[in-house]
Subunit: 319 residues, 2 copies
Amino acid sequence: MSGDNLAPARIPAPLYDRLAVIGCGMIGSSVARAARARGAVREIAVFDLDMAVRARAEALGFANEVAASMADAVRGADLVVFAAPPLSIAPAALAVGEYLEPGATLTDVGSVKTAVAEGLAQLERPDVFVIPGHPIAGAETSGPDAGRANLFQGRWTILTPQARDDAGYARALGRLTAFWETLGANVELMDARHHDLVLAVTSHIPHLIAYNIVGTAADLETVTRGEVIKYSAGGFRDFTRIAASDPVMWRDVFLANKDAVLEILGRFTEDLQALSRAIRWGEGEKLQALFTRTREIRRGVIDAGQETREPNFGREEGG
Amino acid sequence: MSGDNLAPARIPAPLYDRLAVIGCGMIGSSVARAARARGAVREIAVFDLDMAVRARAEALGFANEVAASMADAVRGADLVVFAAPPLSIAPAALAVGEYLEPGATLTDVGSVKTAVAEGLAQLERPDVFVIPGHPIAGAETSGPDAGRANLFQGRWTILTPQARDDAGYARALGRLTAFWETLGANVELMDARHHDLVLAVTSHIPHLIAYNIVGTAADLETVTRGEVIKYSAGGFRDFTRIAASDPVMWRDVFLANKDAVLEILGRFTEDLQALSRAIRWGEGEKLQALFTRTREIRRGVIDAGQETREPNFGREEGG
């Protein structure tokens, strides 16, 4: 499956009447595209702070309406999705708080949940159901053109609901779960702090490490940048892809998830020191034991369907 | 292009009469497959220390002869390619030194060149042309089944010739260059020490970092291994692929290229400490500046044809 082709889906009755997506980057535009392709909502309004992005959204036509203001977008919407860099989400939501429909569900797609949830908790609208969320569908690409209707297909979306036990909230949570499932995602509920720790391991630290190694390589005096690029097929190339992710979003991720990131980074650094010592002392058995152990994790990733069995490199060759 | 399909190639006259490949793993079996597919040699003999691998090589049929001993394989060969883990290459070559044909070319595919070249320099056969080499065609896969005839297509092979200026050596170097070009590779000559520094950056450190992060993730108490695997799509998955590479080969790489690896690792660690401090102090501008700068490197990798423009994640979805 590729591009916007989707498996022949039973089109359900729309789950929401009007979806407002705030932020038309890769993820926001994918939410709009997927919701439309799957018939998950009756109509879609989008907004982006950047005028050029709004114009592009208009041209791409993935929404029924490109609103002129955030207030215009959320007005009448029973589902509002904030798809902005983590530190912009709560301020944006609070700014349009008064325009939200009573009974609307407010969610987001931020890669950090504790900081976003704390910000959204400031919203003084008990008649609005705030359910922070995070679809795990990373990519190096960004911007409205990079979105795809099948981006969430087979991926996990984590929701970190508030500690509310009223029936209305439970219904809103059920409906939002159905929405993501209609977009093809598997939904999991999680505590916001635990989400941030899990994602620090599986996403934030890998990105930090990739950014760091690409930065280190670019600054060496003994090896030229041209050489680094020319001989990147030995492993470095994969890091450049990860390190090409959206700079503003990732800045926000590290600022907003500082504690979990620094905790995992501490462990990583300790382990790296031990590994460095094993190399220095020529401890081959220790190295081989680690390298053998990490293969098991890979098998887990493949068995869990998180990656195809075919090696990635196949498609990159012969070109 | 995929699998063993090759562009319709003008079949040249065989460059060598008999190719002996010692080691039938992914790279060794690819050398045999590619040499046969391209008609680069008249006949191919292979050998592997592992009896099970020899049986598999026999079954796969990529060679004319699966020799019963290393001596049998190299006897009569005018090109001998050692495709073994770095620390096994020189000992193997020295062990069969007396059986090498006068005028034969001896090369290897090791990812480390200084240590291998120093070992091979011990060969007391001035009538044999020793030309260490390294095709940069990494993959997570290993073993004789993982080889492919087009593995070297469009990739770089680095040769690190000895400091010999006799005409025979120059001719042997020209012929070996033509051999790799016939297999689809671009050939570059380089000083062995510089090769080791370049590869430390573009391959060895990326692998070390990947092994380390996968190991760290597996050992956490606060995040389960199941969670790490389940939510690996956010970046971690790519590291698991790199960290699934052959453990013995990579043990040898780090032992054999200790100095260059520790030098680059030192720089990496310094940079990571600075990045960690920027996160701790909330220095958003510093983070964003680095994350923006690393994007340029990615553009270089794409522009240099080291990766397709299509994002990698496309093929992994919809499954």
